[in-house]
């Protein structure tokens, strides 16, 4: 099974924020958003990004919600600092937590930027993958790509004969590095899936709560439906 067959399933590519999916389906539940799990969700998104070869959709709503909460918390910390000794001690504890959340946010953005830099030309060329970037990431990717192309052109390609000057093709051969979707990953299954196709003619029962070592491609669909997570 080649990766191209999987990439044609467009629904897999839009790995949306869980809440966005829910609010779209159940209009009545629009007000119910379990915001207490935001940090755990961000942690899982961070882990998923680090472990997977491809870039997921940017969790815009989640990040914005957390940033808002952090701002409010930082105001609270400032306020407490003006108070008595207990208030200052409380502020210290609050700050411990904001440090943790900031670390998660930074880690999440850093791993995404690293992936963007690694596959910048591939990402910018494909509109569906481009859609997974945030506004800022998209601007960053464009700027980075321009600089990279300038570097290659001025340092090397300019000095090569005409047929060899292209960055993206060498004759008919594609020269843009693509993420390898067949890379093996550790995956924890969150729901009993039963017999699942994990390769050409390979089936394996996937049980809830267990960790499996398998190629990334087959479990892409499970990831997008939150029936599995990487670890």
């Amino acid at each position: 099974l080649k990766s191209k067959e999987y990439s044609s399933v467009s629904s897999v590519l839009t790995i949306m924020d869980r809440r966005e999916d829910q609010t779209a389906l159940h209009e009545d539940d629009m007000d119910y958003v379990d915001e207490e799990d935001d940090i755990d969700e961000l942690k899982q998104h961070w882990v998923n990004e680090v472990c997977s070869p491809e870039l997921f959709v940017y969790q815009k709503l989640l990040v914005e919600r957390l940033r808002e909460k952090l701002e409010k918390q930082e105001d609270l910390i400032e306020e407490e600092r003006q108070g008595d000794a207990t208030a200052v001690w409380r502020a210290g504890l609050y700050e411990l937590e904001t440090d943790r959340v900031n670390y998660l946010l930074r880690g999440y953005h850093r791993v995404r930027l690293a992936k963007i830099e690694k596959y910048v030309m591939y990402i910018l060329k494909s509109p569906s993958i481009r859609a997974r970037l945030s506004e800022e990431e998209f601007q960053y990717a464009q700027g980075y790509c321009d600089i990279l192309e300038d570097l290659f052109q001025s340092a090397l390609l300019r000095h090569l004969p005409e047929p060899y000057r292209s960055l993206d093709k060498q004759g008919n051969v594609n020269m843009i590095p693509e993420p390898d979707l067949e890379k093996y990953v550790f995956c924890r299954v969150l729901k009993d899936v039963g017999e699942y196709e994990v390769g050409p003619d390979k089936y394996m029962p996937l049980e809830k709560g267990h960790i499996y070592l398998l190629p990334y491609n087959p479990i892409r669909r499970l990831l997008s439906e939150y029936e599995a997570e990487l670890c």
């Binding site: 207490e36 935001d38 940090i39 755990d40 942690k43 882990v47 680090v50 472990c51 957390l66 909460k69 952090l70 918390q73 609270l76 207990t86 001690w89 409380r90 504890l93 609050y94 411990l96 937590e97 904001t98 943790r100 959340v101 670390y103 390898d180 067949e182 890379k183 093996y184 990953v185 550790f186 994990v198 390769g199 390979k202 089936y203 394996m204 267990h210 960790i211 499996y212 070592l213 398998l214 190629p215 670890c231």
Partner: protein, 209 residues
């Protein structure tokens, strides 16, 4: 004399590895992830609800057990503001039983809390007065980790081709330690099987249901 040289190399290698830990997740990051685990504490202070980004904890009354995340429990402990109630699995009896169970099995790992190593290390380091028989517990945890790692190494030898594997009861640190090279090894085997299927032993035939 040759034996002395060997020892020095091993220690140096370990120190070098710890310094240049380039795993996708460092041990410190795994520890960070474990610090969200909920743990029970008995506060030694009085305080109303503490409002955090991740939720509200409290109110705190001396003697009244409350559940807080591990990072908060450790912070309170460091300021001597609470006593930590060690989880039931961090006890001599439980660990002893698990160790015996591990010894009985050849390659199958017994069920342990996913973050057992990180949580145990942190509690024994910062709250050893809250753990019953901390020295004994430390020894048991070390033995468990060693036995499990040996079993993992042994079970890896049975992985002959690129077939997906179920990793039952692997814990965070053990998984992370195997991460870099095990995944790369499987990538290589997969590349080999795609290029020349005859190079790898055939997958076992599925048994009839």
């Amino acid at each position: 004399k040759p034996q002395k040289k060997k020892k020095k190399k091993k220690r140096e290698r370990k120190m070098w590895a710890a310094k240049h830990e380039k795993l996708p997740f460092t041990s410190a990051q795994i520890e960070f992830m474990s610090e969200d685990t909920s743990i029970s504490v008995t506060p030694l202070f009085k305080e109303s609800m503490l409002t955090f980004v991740g939720g509200n904890y409290g109110p705190f009354r001396p003697g009244l057990t409350t559940d807080v995340p591990l990072w908060l429990a450790l912070a309170l402990k460091k300021n001597q503001k609470c006593n930590i109630l060690t989880p039931h699995w961090l006890s001599v009896d439980y660990l002893q039983t698990k160790l015996e169970m591990e010894r009985e099995e050849d390659t199958y790992l017994c069920e342990m809390p996913y973050h057992y190593l990180e949580i145990a290390t942190q509690l024994l380091h910062h709250a050893s007065d809250d753990v019953r028989q901390p020295d004994r517990v430390q020894v048991l945890i070390d033995d468990l980790y060693r036995i499990r790692s040996a079993k993992i190494r042994k079970s890896i030898q049975t992985m002959e081709n690129d077939d997906p594997v179920q990793l039952t009861n692997y814990c965070a640190m053990e998984l992370n330690y195997q991460r870099m090279w095990l995944l790369k090894a499987f990538d290589q085997m997969h590349a080999l099987s795609v290029a020349q299927p005859s190079l790898l032993p055939p997958p076992p035939r599925p048994t009839a249901p």
